[in-house]
């Protein structure tokens, strides 16, 4: 451990009283004055026994086909790729590998379903299909949660309490819009666009599918969706739900594969709209690729979001906000609060509390109900995190990493934060997409704003203060799409989400999310 506050673990006994600080000052002082390094002791006196979520109700198949025109069909080439459990490195299933010819089939099916059925169906009937999907996700919630954790490495607690319920809620919310589009755009007539090509990332596989599919269907479009290569399973189980819900064939098509299929969707002449969530690098490629076509585009890209803690913050809740901001989902979150700005006057105590709090992060088996931090999604991502962390050390920042046992197999990274970070360090500039936080300090609100905005990204920001007017000031001045005040990582289907600047354009969620899927007349 390289914690700057010292490593002394004080053996504590009941009634032990330590020395007061020299000036005899008592607790009326505004902030903590640390007398000597004291660290809480989080040991083994009472341990949590393993509590693994059961897998026996999960219907995992050995092989998954593409979902095209209402049917599961193999890829034309017959090629497959394995999807791996990143916590065990075991292959979960073989997945059909889609290429341009498969994408073409999917787009053709989507086009036909659009022209023949979906665009003509009254909104109120379309709504009923989308409501069905929402209900079936709720019914299969636990199975989907387990699958999500097995395929992507995220803790079951998060897939169970966050990903899956939110995915259902998104379908439920947008179902309600299907017959109300006239009210969403006063004075204009909203019409569907056509076939939407959607490419989604691996960090929230089912939730991202819901964010994309729900508004598209509600507003009358049909869909070709490509889940990420490392996490295709829940999207394919969603395809089963869509089949069981009797959606007309071709309304939703799901093709699995890698960038080849993604590129085929983006470049297909019969696709009218592209929605992409992923890296800024790929987002830029897509924007370039569709130049000169009539395709509509929305992009939800990377971020390096600032989480700003003022000295008058509700401190223990702010610590939770920091933890949620960066260690939620192993830090694989586009809006992760990866740059922590702490007011200098409280920097020491915030770091100490953060460090103590991190001792209780339970890293390990994603299916254990008490796990807080699961497996890194892939070997590739783990390498990227390691590379950036090494760069941080080389550039002179101080690394603080908790010491915890890790499973022997699988991809893991211990929760980490850096202090003494300079604005120019790579770890303060580049998106790490892992459980790694950069701590910077500031002296005044103006300085915090200036430095927080000093980034090509602009996805989200957190602000922690007990003073309302300061919240609104920061919210007004931050160049970011979502501002969380005294909270972090909140999502709701009724709330628009999306970025400024290189974090993308277009919004998902809320009435704003509909605008990405309609043409206004």
């Amino acid at each position: 451990m390289s914690h700057s506050l010292g490593t002394c673990v004080v053996p504590m006994n009941a009634g032990v009283t330590m020395k007061r600080n020299g000036n005899g000052k008592t607790a009326t002082a505004r902030h903590l004055e640390i007398v000597e390094p004291r660290q809480l002791y989080f040991g083994e006196k009472w341990q949590y026994a393993p509590s693994p979520e059961k897998k026996d109700h999960v219907k995992l198949k050995k092989h998954y086909d593409l979902f095209i025109d209402g049917k599961f069909v193999p890829g034309k080439s017959g090629k497959t790729f394995p999807t791996i459990n990143p916590a065990t490195e075991e292959t979960l299933a073989e997945i059909a590998y889609a290429e341009a010819a498969d994408v073409d089939r999917a787009v053709t099916a989507a086009r036909r379903a659009y022209d023949k059925v979906w665009r003509k169906m009254p909104g109120s009937e379309r709504a009923k299909y989308v409501f069905r999907i929402a209900r079936m996700i709720q019914e299969k919630a636990r199975e989907l949660a387990v699958l999500e954790s097995m395929d992507g490495g995220k803790p079951i607690r998060e897939s169970r309490d966050c990903d899956i319920p939110l995915a259902a809620a998104h379908f439920f919310y947008y179902a309600g819009w299907a017959d109300k589009l006239d009210y969403a755009f006063p004075g204009r007539k909203a019409r569907s666009i056509g076939v939407a090509g959607q490419v989604i990332p691996w960090n929230f596989p089912l939730l991202m599918a819901a964010w994309k599919i729900a508004p598209a269907l509600a507003s009358g479009n049909t869909v070709v969706l490509k889940p990420a290569e490392t996490t295709p399973l829940t999207a394919l189980h969603l395809a089963e739900i869509i089949q069981e819900a009797d959606l007309p064939p071709g309304v939703v098509n799901i093709v699995t594969g890698d960038g080849t299929a993604g590129a085929a969707i983006v470049n297909h002449p019969n696709v009218d709209k592209i929605a992409f969530t992923g890296s800024t690098e790929v987002g830029k490629m897509i924007q370039r690729a569709i130049a000169g076509t009539n395709k509509r585009l929305t992009l939800e890209l990377g971020g390096k979001s600032a989480n700003i803690i003022f000295e008058d913050a509700p401190m223990d809740q702010a610590i939770e906000g920091i933890i949620d901001g960066i260690y939620f989902n192993q830090g694989h979150v586009c809006c992760a609060g990866s740059r922590l700005f702490v007011q200098e006057s409280i920097a020491e105590i915030v770091e100490r509390k953060l460090w103590d709090r991190m001792q209780n992060l339970r890293v390990g088996d994603p299916l254990d109900k008490n796990t807080d931090v699961g497996a890194i999604n892939s070997k590739m991502q783990l390498n990227k995190i390691c590379e950036l962390v090494d760069a941080g050390v080389r550039e002179g920042a101080t690394k603080h990493q908790i010491e915890c046992a890790l499973p022997k197999k699988g991809y893991w990274f211990r929760p980490t934060f850096f202090t003494k970070v300079a604005q120019s360090h790579r770890i303060a500039q580049e998106e790490i997409f892992g459980p790694v936080l950069s701590v910077l300090t500031f002296r005044t609100p103006e300085e915090a704003l200036e430095r927080a905005n000093n980034s090509p990204y602009g996805l989200a920001a957190g602000v922690w203060t007990d003073k309302g007017s300061k919240i609104f000031k920061i919210a007004n001045r931050m160049r970011a799409g979502v501002i969380w005040a005294n909270t972090y990582n909140q999502f709701d289907p009724s709330s628009p989400f999306g970025g400024y600047k290189e974090s993308g354009f277009g919004r998902e969620g809320g009435v704003h999310g509909l605008a990405s899927y309609v043409e206004l007349y």
Binding site: F131, G176, Y183, E446, G468, S469, D492
Partner: protein, 292 residues
């Protein structure tokens, strides 16, 4: 083979999630188009109105405090259960009114769809009716709708199921609770609908339904000081004037709908609107400084 003797159903009131008989222990007879007795209905009294308002008031805050998403889910749940019991309602409507089977089937299906329509509105009307106001001083200023409280609903006489639902759903969507005086001539489906409510996760007291003589019930409801709004459907001008006058007692919001009427309850463009939700809300505006 011996004929099986059917079991008849007892229709009671719906107050605070329970099905009590009228406090007055009175009844009136509901007969079919050919004069055959279908059932005895409870003839509610002013004390039943009083009890119902008390339940509605108690239920209001917790109901309004639920998330909009949750209220939407519950409205949707009502629709699910109603869908399942469609045939019960079709039979009942056919027995009591001159509606043919086809018309009754249409009315019940439309009732389900209308509930779903409002289920969707529960977490959306607020985005429609809220504003951020660009005031010329350093303040963040926003306005949003807030439920008005306890709503007294006088349901239309005709289309007794669809009309009732078309009035209850928009009131519930924003977090109001209500006391409903059912169709006097065809009250049975209202009470059967209460059974659907009781099976649909609707908290006790959010909807209370009283059957009986409107001439006896409307006035105590309209004059009740703990009722925030009266929502009347019908064309009885004397009643309308009386309601408007009674409303002045505690500045009730008085909503009078002479239209839709009769068959037009089936017409979406006339019988459902997010403005029906908004009319039963209050606009709240908050100012907050912006500074460090």
């Amino acid at each position: 083979m011996a004929t099986r003797i059917p079991v008849l159903k007892t229709y009671k009131l719906f107050i605070g999630g329970k099905f009590p008989r009228s406090e007055s222990a009175r009844y009136y007879q509901i007969k079919g188009p050919k004069g055959k007795l279908i059932a005895n209905a409870a003839r509610g009294s002013r004390k039943d109105i009083r009890d119902a308002v008390r339940s509605a008031r108690e239920a209001w805050k917790p109901w309004a405090d639920r998330s909009a998403y949750n209220r939407g889910q519950i409205l949707y749940r009502i629709a699910e259960i109603l869908e399942e019991r469609r045939s019960v309602f079709v039979d009942e409507i056919c027995a009591v009114t001159r509606s043919g089977r086809a018309a009754a089937t249409t009315e019940v299906a439309k009732s389900v769809d209308r509930l779903i329509w409002y289920a969707g509105w529960a977490d959306k009307y607020m985005q429609l009716f809220s504003t951020v106001n660009p005031v010329a001083s350093p303040y963040w200023n926003f306005s949003y709708p807030d439920s008005t409280g306890v709503v007294g609903i006088v349901a239309p006489e005709e289309k007794s199921l669809l009309g009732l639902i078309s009035k209850i759903a928009p009131a519930m969507a924003s977090g109001n609770t209500c006391v409903v005086i059912a169709s006097e001539s065809a009250p049975l489906s209202s009470i059967t609908f209460a059974e659907v409510l009781a099976a649909s996760d609707v908290p006790s007291g959010v909807v209370n339904i009283i059957t009986g003589f409107k001439a006896e019930l409307t006035e105590p409801l309209a004059r009740h000081m703990d009722v925030n709004a009266i929502d009347y459907s019908g064309r009885d001008e004397a009643t309308i004037k009386a309601l408007q006058e009674a409303g002045a007692l505690n500045v009730k919001r008085v909503i009078i709908r002479r239209d839709p009427h009769g068959e037009s309850w089936l017409d979406d463009s006339r019988a459902q609107s997010p403005y029906w939700i908004s009319e039963l809300t209050e606009t709240k505006t908050a100012w907050h400084p912006v500074g460090v």
